[in-house]
Subunit: 304 residues, 2 copies
């Protein structure tokens, strides 16, 4: 197994810092071409939702995949920022009183607590729009085909048949205890699809061959699954203080997870297998894939 060393930690935090800067730029208060004006309160709510930390895992996966295929750094940072906007929108809406009704996110008040419910709905809405705006902007990639493929990929990963659909299944799971097949589908949609697309976006920026893209898609699937299993373990074992958000909510609401179905120990074993599988999928890329392989391990053993 790859060992997580200082180099990996430096890459992870370096990407997070660079993406934070990119987000700060796209969330300025001056209107862009084609915009009329940017209301201050809405800009502030969107900044509250996106800036100020987080692991930036989705951006990191896009950036590292892009780097493996020698893509332009600036474009990769912009794609990373778009992924984080999309992710932040989903968190803002999931936290709403009508959904998961959470007060705390990354140790800070959620957007509807810091502002109000209407502002939180609009901030989430505008963050989704901004994600597509960034991807379609010529500053992201000179090739319009790459841009429209990025938009289409993000739309398929995050809409009705991806993340939003997964959140719908998750709401229904509160009343209809799902089995393993249903849990896996729900998780593939709710969190897996966007993580998979984050990797694929890097391959698109890097003009990877169809074969390499398929490989990266599979890697993205594995890492998405590992992320969710690790999340379910953390929800069961970590404290609210450590995570900066409420824990134990899934099991107390009777939402199905594989940890709930089989317990923590077998799920840890599944995680080990997934890390090995990820390394196998990346093997043909050799040393170039070292950081992505380390990312799989990081996702599996993370403690926050």
């Amino acid at each position: 197994m790859v060992r997580l060393d200082d180099d990996f930690a430096a890459r992870l935090s370096g990407a997070a810092t660079a993406v934070e800067r990119a987000l700060d730029r796209v969330l300025g208060s001056n209107p862009r071409e084609g915009e009329i004006a940017r209301p201050v309160r809405l800009v502030e709510a969107m900044r509250h939702a996106t800036l100020g930390g987080g692991k930036r895992l989705r951006a990191f996966l896009a950036i590292e995949t892009a780097r493996m295929f020698d893509a332009d750094t600036e474009g990769a940072l912009r794609v990373g920022a778009a992924l984080e906007c999309l992710h932040a929108y989903s968190l803002v809406h999931d936290d709403l009183p009508a959904m998961d009704d959470d007060d705390l996110r990354r140790g800070r008040p959620t957007v509807h607590r810091a502002f109000d419910e209407a502002t939180a709905i609009l901030a989430g809405d505008a963050l989704q729009t901004l994600a597509f705006d960034i991807l379609a902007d010529p500053a992201t990639d000179a090739d319009p085909l790459v841009r429209s493929d990025l938009v289409l990929g993000l739309a398929r990963a995050s809409g009705l048949g991806g993340m939003a659909g997964g959140q719908m299944l998750d709401l229904q799971a509160e009343t209809e205890t799902p089995d393993e097949v249903a849990i896996r589908r729900l998780q593939a949609m709710k969190t897996g699809a966007l993580i998979r697309f984050s990797c694929e976006a890097g391959a698109l920026l890097g003009r990877a061959s169809a074969e390499d893209r398929a490989r990266i898609r599979r890697f993205g699937e594995i890492i998405g699954l590992a992320f969710q299993l690790a999340d379910d373990i953390l929800d069961e074992t970590a404290t609210t203080e450590a995570l900066g958000k409420a824990t134990g909510k899934d099991s107390s609401r009777g939402k199905g997870t594989l940890v709930g179905l089989y317990g923590v120990t077998p799920v840890r074993a599944m995680l080990d297998d997934l890390v090995l599988e990820a390394e196998g999928v990346l093997a043909p890329f050799g040393d170039r894939a070292e950081t992505l392989a380390a990312a799989a391990q990081f996702v599996a053993i993370r403690e926050v």
Copy 2:
């Protein structure tokens, strides 16, 4: 002035029917490539929000502008469907209890009344995503530059600096009675930007010259403004029964409109001027612009 004849009525209802069919197709229950599965309840809520009528003004403007520039009909219908998805998303979210708290839309229960609040939030979210999905899909236009320009134009018209930003200003207007400049900016963002882009999208599909595009943008601005003024008059004068939604809400909440500021009669005079201005802007296109000129008149004198 152009007279509204049977030919115009036939074009308007023909476009509405064709767009309804296009929406029915994109809102099927089978997942597309890149999607995992489509949850039935979410599909139903999205269909409730988008199907079953409405004037389809935004789609009509895109389709008629595209036709004037001899663009492909199928692509124009898809763009029309995308605009109606985006518009429907904004209505679903605006109707939520935390926003305008409306029970009725087009004479039917709003999505959060017919389903529930969480489903309405997700249906709106997924309708926004679907709009971008449709525009970025190669079925809409073979040229990826046109597709990414459509995505970028829609994002700028509907995000932070457009429609969503306008809704934010509208919420704030409940407490901070705005003056004419502020009302005009609010309306240009909340409803004007998307109507303007609807026209521009048709010009993009039709590969219009930069000069013609600028002309169409101006026409779109005029028609957006006329639409809003007519809406404000209707809010003041029509009944809930005639409109199929609550009326008199803007004035009772103290929201600023030009009707509130100056009364109905001067606003009707502004509308007449706008229709004349629209005809002037369209004059260089000659007879080809006959339907668009009629559309301006229709928007100004509409009774629902």
